[in-house]
């Protein structure tokens, strides 16, 4: 069930009514509503994979309690190890088994040994990468003594399966989310309005911008042999914006919907295209993942406390693993490695004072930095979007074979979108997106809109709703890009 599907339009109000009105009497009833609606939501994709979520919840709930109950260091460590092996075992089997098997086959083939028949026909359970990280963080935090185990199974199972963020994040920490299930939630009008506002903006980003740009991106990336430099450059730029709008749109809708249940989720994006370096970019993009890798991989590896060389190594490993987390293919591994190298270079240059950071930089410098960050992200994303490694070479090859021509770009756009009026709508939507992000670059929608008069706010909401209906893509709703991870 997609957030931008009509089925969800029916699903959400029913769950809200059950949650607030029919079973709103106690926290237990509210949690039951959330748990069963979350399982229903997930089961709409594939009910068989519900078993995995329940199993993962059960393992970590039990092990979490046992770790807390024992003082023996070795036993605690062993229990943590069991939890990690179970969680990562499930993840590796479903997500990476074929990748590793194929890579082994290729490796042996290059040594003259023929291996075959190792790959399995496995479906990737949607959202597995997200809820696995959540459950891992729960047991690790208990092991570290930062968190007490969940008081009851219902709160913990609801934390793992909470439907707004189940399939594509934000990746929540138990320390923040579980306590919210311990208390009875009371309806709060300003929070609900704030949620609807955020969900509306997320819907705009997804339906109007991401899905519309996806048409051109898919046209180019799905037939790379037919692409030329003009279509390739536009597709690469479009994909940066598409993936941002798609994923941050999903996060906004998820956070907004959670607010309708009076549950606060972590902000996942902070206008990342206003970043002036890749380091800053990763503090503003998929924040819940970046902070997860910081707390559970980078710091345990030694972080930046073990000397510069080790720190560079740690940075590189974290980005490499982050790349692999995104997808089981060498494209993603190399994508992660590229980001590792970019980060290391930035930190190195900063340490050597090649990249001084004046407190009040000149405007041209800010623009140049933002341009660099956006372009660095866009170029590395070619690896992220290309269907195969061969496609990366085919597409980048076009860049060296011809020169850019505005008229040709226009022609390509018209070829895909057919009507000039649709291109006008795309242009205006991109302007609206930029304006929206500009307004909230230092604040939130609540702060920005709170400063406006009520009639102006209502006018803005109406305008966005009308714009979604006028310029949105409804005929071919695309799955959210991050669902595949």
């Amino acid at each position: 069930m997609l957030f931008n599907s009509l089925a969800f339009v029916f699903f959400l109000p029913i769950v809200l009514l059950l949650y607030w009105k029919v079973f709103g009497g106690s926290k237990k009833q509210q949690n039951y509503v959330l748990l069963f609606s979350s399982y229903f939501f997930y089961g709409c994709w594939n009910w068989r994979f519900l078993i995995l979520i329940i199993l993962s919840s059960l393992i970590d709930y039990t092990i979490g309690k046992k770790i807390f109950d024992t003082n023996l260091k070795k036993k605690r460590k062993n229990l943590l190890l069991i939890s990690l092996v179970c969680n990562l075992g499930i993840l590796v089997f479903f997500k990476y088994f074929n990748f590793f098997a194929e890579s082994l086959e290729i490796l042996f083939h290059s040594m003259g040994v023929q291996l075959s028949g190792f790959t399995l026909s496995i479906l990737l359970p949607i959202g597995i990468s997200f809820y696995t990280l959540q459950t891992i963080s729960y047991t690790v935090d208990i092991y570290r003594g930062k968190l007490e185990p969940s008081r009851n199974w219902l709160s913990f199972f609801t934390f793992v399966a909470f439907f707004p963020q189940l399939v594509a994040g934000p990746i929540e920490r138990a320390i923040k989310l579980v306590p919210q299930f311990y208390v009875k939630r009371k309806f709060d009008w300003p929070t609900a309005v704030s949620g609807l506002r955020q969900a509306l903006w997320g819907l705009f980003k997804k339906v109007v911008v991401a899905d519309t740009l996806a048409q051109f991106v898919n046209h180019v990336y799905n037939a790379p042999e037919a692409a030329d430099v003009n279509s390739f450059v536009v597709a690469a730029l479009f994909f940066s914006i598409q993936v941002y709008c798609d994923f941050s749109g999903y996060s906004d809708i998820a956070i907004g919907i959670a607010k309708l249940f009076n549950i606060q989720l972590t902000e996942n994006f902070k206008t990342p295209f206003f970043s002036q370096s890749m380091k800053e970019f990763w503090n503003r993009w998929h924040i819940s993942l970046s902070t997860w890798f910081r707390d559970y991989v980078y710091i345990p590896l030694g972080g930046n406390r073990t000397g510069p060389i080790k720190m560079y190594q740690n940075l590189f490993w974290v980005m490499l693993i982050s790349g692999l987390w995104h997808g089981a293919s060498w494209n993603f591994v190399i994508w992660g490695a590229c980001h590792g190298i970019l980060l290391i270079t930035e930190v190195y240059l900063e340490k050597r004072n090649f990249l001084s950071k004046p407190s009040n930089p000149q405007k041209w410098r800010v623009i140049l930095n933002r341009f660099y960050t956006f372009m660095a992200f866009t170029i590395t994303l070619i690896l992220f979007r290309a269907n195969t490694f061969q496609d990366v070479f085919t597409l980048t090859g076009t860049f060296f074979s011809d020169t850019l021509q505005w008229s040709a770009i226009w022609q390509q756009l018209v070829e895909v979108y057919t009507f000039k009026i649709d291109l006008l709508f795309i242009g205006l939507s991109l302007l609206l997106l930029a304006a929206g992000d500009y307004c909230i670059r230092h604040s939130t929608w609540d702060q920005f809109l709170g400063a406006l008069q009520k009639p102006t706010r209502l006018l803005l909401y109406t305008a966005v709703v009308i714009w979604i209906f006028t310029a949105g893509t409804f005929d071919d709703p695309q799955e959210f890009v991050y669902f595949q991870f």
């Binding site: 009509l6 109000p13 009514l17 607030w20 009105k21 057919t418 009507f419 009026i421 209906f469 409804f474």
Partner: protein, 317 residues
């Protein structure tokens, strides 16, 4: 809380009102047929053939891609004689309710002498994915089994397509360009190559197993309520228009010696034509596990010509 429920209720009412208005606004038939630009079946040709080409249709084939690839309408036309016009009105993928819509349109625009409807080993319970795009609002609301699982889904999708149509109309971006696979003469989609023998063998084994499994745990009657309701409506339509209906059994590869699992129901509906086994067993007649290639379709069409001739002469007598 009350305010929130009130807001939800108002939003729901606005959505309901907007949807109802959309359902009763005009909805262009040409748009419906040309909307899908990348489908295998030649739907825009079907619109042209029914609404713009004045040549009558005497014999019409209605079915899925099995019919689309298997029935060479131009060849049958040549075989049965110049006075008989044959049209293959196949629409890809299963879903019986769409056939009702196609036949209704056919009977409203032409006066066929014979309608031949494809049947397979089993009926699909699902609504056709394009039913909500193609069907009139009247059919969308009325022509559905009373307890249909897809009833609401179809209406919601119907609202979506009508919304898209009206939006394109307002933006002046209605596009009636024929799809990439548009052909000007016939809808028949031939494949001029042979299926891979290992692949055909694999499909054959798989289809046989599937048939036996379905036969063993013969799914309960209510599984077929929806498609059979649509078939009964088709029968009623044909009877009202005094057009004979025939069923053509086109199973997948490997199921040549079988009869449809709901044979009894079909027997009450209309006479069924079973293509000869030699046609279905010959691997060189198939392009894949489901469809005939050009040579298979040629043989099937020649056989069909004989059946059509005898049925038409029976009716004349």
């Amino acid at each position: 809380m009350k305010r929130f429920i009130y807001t939800l209720f108002v939003c729901f009412l606005i959505t309901l009102l907007g949807s109802s208005i959309l359902l009763f606004l005009s909805y262009d038939k040409e748009f419906r047929s040309t909307y899908r630009q990348n489908v295998d079946c030649n739907t825009s040709w079907m619109y042209y053939r029914l609404h713009q080409n004045e040549t009558p249709i005497d014999v019409a084939f209605v079915g899925t891609s099995h019919t689309g690839c298997g029935v060479n309408d131009s060849l049958i036309g040549r075989e049965v004689g110049p006075s008989i016009n044959v049209a293959n009105l196949a629409y890809c993928t299963k879903g019986r309710n769409l056939h009702y819509t196609v036949i209704k349109d056919l009977l409203a625009t032409k006066k066929p002498k014979l309608i031949i409807l494809e049947i397979r080993e089993t009926e699909s319970r699902d609504s056709h994915k394009d039913f909500s795009l193609i069907a009139n609002t009247e059919d969308l609301l009325q022509h559905s089994y009373p307890f249909s699982f897809s009833y609401l889904e179809n209406i919601v999708d119907g609202v979506k397509y009508r919304f898209l149509y009206n939006r394109m109309k307002l933006k002046n971006t209605l596009n009636y360009a024929p799809p990439v696979n548009y052909k000007e003469d016939y809808t028949f989609t031939p494949f001029y190559f042979y299926g891979d023998s290992i692949d055909l063998m694999r499909h054959s084994t798989k289809n046989k197993k599937l048939y036996q499994r379905r036969k063993k745990n013969i799914i309960k009657d209510q599984y077929y309520w929806e498609p059979e309701y649509a078939l009964e409506q088709i029968k009623k339509l044909c009877e009202q228009n005094a057009v004979p209906l025939r069923l053509l059994y086109l199973p997948s590869i490997g199921n040549e010696n079988t009869v449809p699992l709901r044979e009894e129901f079909y027997r009450n509906l209309a006479p069924t034509w079973y293509p000869p086994n030699r046609l279905l067993t010959n691997k060189s007649n198939w392009v894949d596990g489901e469809h005939f290639n050009y040579w298979g379709s040629k043989k099937l069409s020649e056989w069909l010509s004989v059946q059509i001739n005898s049925t038409l002469s029976e009716n004349l007598d």
